[in-house]
């Protein structure tokens, strides 16, 4: 099935720059109900998203609001009970690394592979020639600032560096969309901010559509073009906030009244749920 | 998957049914002549042998229990004591642990003939053998247990200016107890069987001796009865220590969910 749905092959894409529509993600009428030990739970309800190519969208909400489940559905790993998801105009029925790269929380790197081999992993599954694999992985590692660390094993890297490797792996097949599931949740505050800046830099250089899930208000306001705020049980979209802070974003912006107002608006929604 | 699961029996029920089936087959198969009664005497006959010769079994069991008691004291006393000591001194532990677990590979049964040569075929050789048999698991388990103690407990105790003795008795020991108990459980079972096996090899008294004598007489029901008795002893011991383990686990996790996991 995936072969039918695959985006134009690499040679085409190398010749012509990505068509803007490739990075267009749409979610229509998505809802999800699951049945665990006889208890039926409505996890997601009435989700509508229309994400234009090249946008940086952050989905934020409390734990248990279904934001990670929603992302897993957008990657094609999990299928929703109702509604449709398209990426580049074609439905996401199964994972498709040519269209969507995914970055998970820490510990998703294979501990028995070096940084280079981890980045090569998606390519090696497709039996690409060794030389091309290595060249592409090296290039991606350089993009995320890890030149010289190719032969390190994950345990020899810091938390931030591991996530750089994950991002490089997500980008190695040059997909138009990158989805990240709380990628910096396990990092300390300083590393988080640095990694946020890194991600913004990579995003600006590659022009990918980025969909980023987090529970951190600051991270959401700092990174996003648009913030999607979700409520819990069932997971619904309660607000869409257009972030009008200028780019490039700087650390100093965090102390401006505009930034505070943004955080206040998100917090308002989240506090309301906690009160219920 | 989900709707199908609803029609299935509870795992515990299936387990009971399986147990029942085993007991039933134990009775039916030899009675029907599908398995010669020499290989597998019917359950009722085995239990009958136990009841008929209750006095004899009790006598030999007591004899074995005496040896088991001493050996358990030695194995677990030395094993746990040394484990606590070595486990709490990091440099010592790092050099002892690999060697101790390496020595664990030695099949200790081959030492038994040496012990009979040295100590005769009385209880002494069995006690020495079974003590050694249970010692290493106790030692290794305790050492590993001490190692897993949360460093924060020690830091907190230090910040409260606890003395070394207080640190040992009030922090290290209580924190290590669940793992020490599971080491004791494994070591203790080995001690019990160590004594019985040693008796099976050479002796003139004890439950193991009884099993071997009946085996040479090809009296299957009485062999099985003896084995059943020892298995019951091991399971009883295991259950008892497990109970203690469960009790003490609350100290560590303070929630009941730890039980659900175990």
């Amino acid at each position: 099935m995936t072969t039918l749905l695959q985006a134009p092959d690499r040679a085409d894409r190398a010749a012509a720059p990505q068509t803007p529509a490739a990075g267009h993600v749409q979610v229509r009428g998505l809802g999800h109900t699951y049945d665990a030990a006889g208890r039926v739970t409505r996890a997601l309800d009435g989700i509508e998203l229309d994400i234009a190519p090249g946008r940086f969208v952050v989905i934020v909400g409390t734990s248990g609001c279904g934001k990670s489940s929603l992302l897993m559905m957008m990657t094609g790993l999990v299928s929703p009970s109702e509604g449709s998801i398209t990426c580049g105009g074609m439905p996401m029925m199964a994972p498709d690394p040519d269209r969507v790269g995914v970055v998970f929380q820490e510990a998703s790197l294979y501990p028995w592979l070096t940084a280079q081999q981890n980045v090569e992993f998606p390519l090696s599954l497709r039996k690409l020639p060794k030389a091309e694999r290595a060249a592409r992985a090296r290039e991606r590692l350089a993009l995320v600032g890890l030149q010289g660390f190719e032969d390190r094993y994950p345990h020899e890297l810091s938390g931030g560096m591991k996530q750089r490797v994950s991002i490089a792996r997500g980008l190695v097949q040059d997909p138009p969309v990158l989805m990240l599931d709380e990628p910096f949740a396990a990092l300390d505050e300083q590393t988080r901010i640095t990694m946020g800046d890194e991600l913004l830099r990579i995003w600006e250089r590659t022009g990918k559509t980025v969909i980023f899930v987090t529970h951190s208000l600051t991270e959401a306001a700092y990174l996003a073009d648009e913030i999607i705020v979700m409520s819990a049980r069932p997971g619904r979209i309660v607000d869409r906030i257009e972030v009008d802070l200028p780019r490039p974003r700087t650390y100093a912006m965090m102390s401006t009244p505009r930034f505070a107002a943004l955080r206040e608006r998100i917090w308002g929604h989240i506090r309301n749920q906690a009160g219920e | 998957m989900a709707p199908q699961a609803r029609f299935r029996l509870e795992p515990a029920t299936v387990r009971r049914l399986l147990g029942l089936a085993v007991l039933l087959l134990w009775e039916v198969l030899p009675r029907a002549g599908l398995i010669p009664a020499l290989f597998l005497p019917p359950l009722t006959e085995t239990l009958g042998a136990l009841v008929h010769h209750a006095g004899e079994y009790a006598h030999h069991l007591l004899f074995s229990l005496y040896a088991i008691g001493i050996a358990m004291g030695v194995a677990c006393g030395i094993g746990i004591g040394a484990g606590l000591l070595v486990g709490s001194v990091a440099p010592l532990r790092q050099s002892v642990q690999p060697v101790a677990s390496g020595l664990y590979a030695v099949p200790l049964v081959i030492l038994y003939p040496l012990f009979t040569a040295w100590f005769g075929i009385g209880p002494q050789s069995k006690i020495v053998f079974a003590s050694l048999y249970g010692l290493l698991p106790c030692f290794l388990g305790t050492m590993a247990g001490v190692q897993t103690i949360d460093r924060h407990y020690i830091t907190v105790a230090r910040s409260l200016r606890a003395s070394r003795l207080q640190l040992l008795t009030r922090v290290l020991l209580p924190a290590a107890i669940p793992t020490v108990l599971s080491a004791f459980r494994i070591g203790g079972a080995l001690v019990i069987v160590g004594i019985v096996v040693a008796e099976m090899l050479t002796s003139t008294e004890g439950i193991g001796y009884l099993i071997t004598r009946n085996r040479t007489l090809l009296n299957s029901p009485r062999v099985f009865a003896g084995i059943l008795l020892v298995v019951a002893l091991v399971i009883g011991f295991d259950a008892l220590v497990r109970l203690l383990e469960r009790r003490t686990r609350h100290w560590r996790f303070s929630t009941r969910s730890a039980d659900a996991v175990a």
């Binding site: 990657t75 994972p95 599954l125 | 795992p11 590979a105 099949p107 040496l114």
Partner: protein, 261 residues
Amino acid sequence: MSAAPPIPSHAGRRARGLLPWALVLAVLCVAWQGALVTGLMAPELLPPLGEVVTTAVELLTRPSVMAHAGTTLAEVAVAFVIAVPLGLLLGIAIAESRYWSAVLKPVIFLVFSIPKTIFLPMFILAFGINFAQKVGFGVFSTIFIVLISAFSALDSVKAEHLRVARIYGATPRQVAWRVYLPSMAPVLLEAVRLAMMFNLTGILLAEMYAARSGLGQLVSNWGENFMLRELLAGILIISTAAILFNEAVRWLETRCEHWRA
């Protein structure tokens, strides 16, 4: 971030690993000879170490001893070749089914907690005293530890790692070879090591209890006839072989695990 600092070497650690073993050997030698010099042990009960070592070397070239060793090795090998794959397959099959895990795991853990040596007389009654009985008992002694190792091997496969493979479109075969196998490798090697320990103990005991040949029978005979020089030499040989095998597999384990360091 630009310049990568050098990776620390592991050579020093290996040298430090041998030191404790040397110490144990030294203590053994001193205690052995000390017991003789102080008269704690009579030379009839504890022949001098040198004599025992010479005997050990001589035993290794004695054809009759080698024939016994051959019997034992054959029994050990056959039992091992049956028990390990069988246990792994069964264990994986059980662990992969949530339902059968719930039913059978408690039973397997219960049986595992009973030392298997106690069941030896049953095997003699059922099989008689022969090769099949030894192998059968070896398999029985070994299979439960293999089952339990298989459970923990599957537990060591992380959901995250499987998810990554699926995201990048790995086929089931690729998942098996490139995620399951490397994840499980250290635990599987440990299983091999533990299986060999249980197996060897089981078979030696079976030979000591009732047999016409095999190292266990030989050792037991030497004991009964007070041939302590041969007995101690035999113990020395068997222990050394067991330790060497164990350490060899452990070395492989650490090689496999170098990424964890």
